[in-house]
Symmetry: C2
Subunit: 292 residues, 2 copies
């Protein structure tokens, strides 16, 4: 594998950014990896673990000479990072991110990287994020995972192509779509389920007999609520960033629950078994290929 | 271990009934196990696998001489089984079941086993049921799992105690409560989550772009919806049997979702992070001891 990136700057060397760097290094696809992180400890750890070659002192130091810049920081920090690095970006440097929502990142790029939009390629790797920090990084995190690119109208095709190749080298399956389409899809299959799991656990935790309820919760409950163990700040950011699509999904789901409650109220056995059977069939058809 | 059961009659030799028989045999706690099953194939398989010692020809044959009768058939078949066996029950035979709802089983016992209520001990082992049939049975299924007993007002303490001992021998942790209390608890921590998972998968499966949505569903969605792969008939029965408690939980959950939607509409960052944080903390406190 020849180097497709000479110098990679990674902002946020945690599970997501760190795993990307490790995968590219293992493939011999990157010359030097420069890391930046709010946590000095995590940054030193990333260097000790060989995830980065050099710890940058600031954003200017990190992006100077970099031909690929990856923003793997929470969305809340992205504006500040973009502002800090913008003056120091090489004209040919490609800028990408790993955020779970895309319309908000597009808006931030349009605001803070206005002179550089032809090299901006918003991206979203679909990979679990239960663990965090440099120690959680692993070179095979993206193997056979989906990666969505949502290039801007201004993005040059060669910039998009460079980011696509970078992720393919990590083993990801790259898909391209618009940012609104991305956000609508993930509102349904990711953001809504997270809200539903948080809502159920919180509802039960608030009961007077919460301890007794949790005592009898079993493996079905454990799996159903696993995503309620996700980082609250990150999910607050995602929920607010994708607010309108998520509200539409919540409304559709409430209508679905109202139908279900109606069937139950009316002892409508056929409606219940119809809904349960359709759901089981759809899930089996979907889950089969992943070889659970 | 001495035999605490001379002859065990098991109606329904699948995962639940079969695993009970295997665990008792392994412990040397049962003399003879007699099985009954709608499926002749499954019954022969159970005998070939050593789960039962003898296949009974009918209910009368099964319960004659049995001192413990376990009803491990779907709730829908329970009335017929009770009617068929009632005339042949030994006076000292203890009758128990493994149903996921208890008020309905109590009502069936009161209707069909009226002369035998002092030996009736409704029970619910909290153990996974994704697989089914005799081949899925394993002696360690109940190890460290909860088992709830909901004895009737008429039940003799020695009958309750015999069923408790039987399950303790299988490694289960036995708890006793009233049938309404049982049904309220499981409406919240089991039946509601199942309905929520079915509802989400069905909602997505009905969309025009369902294939695209499922393409981007990842591990969080997979875990959240695992219970939507459960048996539709069994869950239709459970939902209808526990209808009023389940409707109350659905209503409480819809109110919780309305609060969440309100917070989202008003950009109420503090409310969102409060709910998400409480949920994560509660889940971590709960999940920690099970050593996920």
């Amino acid at each position: 594998m020849s180097e497709i990136i000479s110098r990679l700057a990674v902002f946020g060397v945690g599970l997501i950014g760190g795993s990307l760097a490790l995968a590219l290094k293992r493939a011999g696809a990157v010359g030097e990896v420069v890391g930046v992180d709010r946590s000095i400890e995590n940054l030193q750890l990333a260097r000790d673990l060989g995830i980065i070659d050099r710890a940058a002192t600031d954003a200017a130091d990190a992006v100077t000479g970099a031909d690929m810049v990856v923003l793997a920081v929470p969305v809340g920090q992205m504006a500040a990072v973009m502002r800090a690095m913008a003056p120091y970006l090489s004209p040919h440097a490609v800028v990408t991110d790993v955020g779970s929502t895309k319309q908000d990142v597009v808006a931030l790029m349009q605001q803070h990287l206005v002179a550089h939009l032809d090299h901006c390629v918003p991206a979203h790797p679909i990979a679990g994020a239960e663990l965090s920090g440099a120690t959680a990084a692993r070179a095979d995190l993206y193997l056979a995972k989906k990666l969505v690119l949502t290039p801007l109208a201004q993005t040059r095709p060669d910039a998009t192509s460079k980011v696509a190749t970078m992720w393919q080298i990590c083993g990801a399956q790259v898909r391209t779509m618009s940012a609104p389409e991305h956000d609508a899809i993930f509102a349904a299959v990711s953001h809504l389920p997270h809200l539903l799991a948080y809502a159920l656990v919180d509802m039960i935790a608030q009961r007077d007999n919460a301890a007794q309820l949790f005592e009898f919760a079993a493996s079905g409950f454990r799996d159903f609520t696993r995503i309620a163990g996700s980082d609250p700040e990150m999910w607050r950011d995602i929920a607010l960033a994708n607010r309108s699509a998520l509200l539409a999904e919540l409304q559709a789901y409430q209508a679905q629950l109202a139908r279900l409650a109606g069937a139950l109220e009316q002892h409508d056995s056929a409606a219940l078994i119809g809904l349960f059977s359709r759901a089981r069939q759809a899930r089996q058809d979907w889950a089969a290929p992943i070889n659970e």
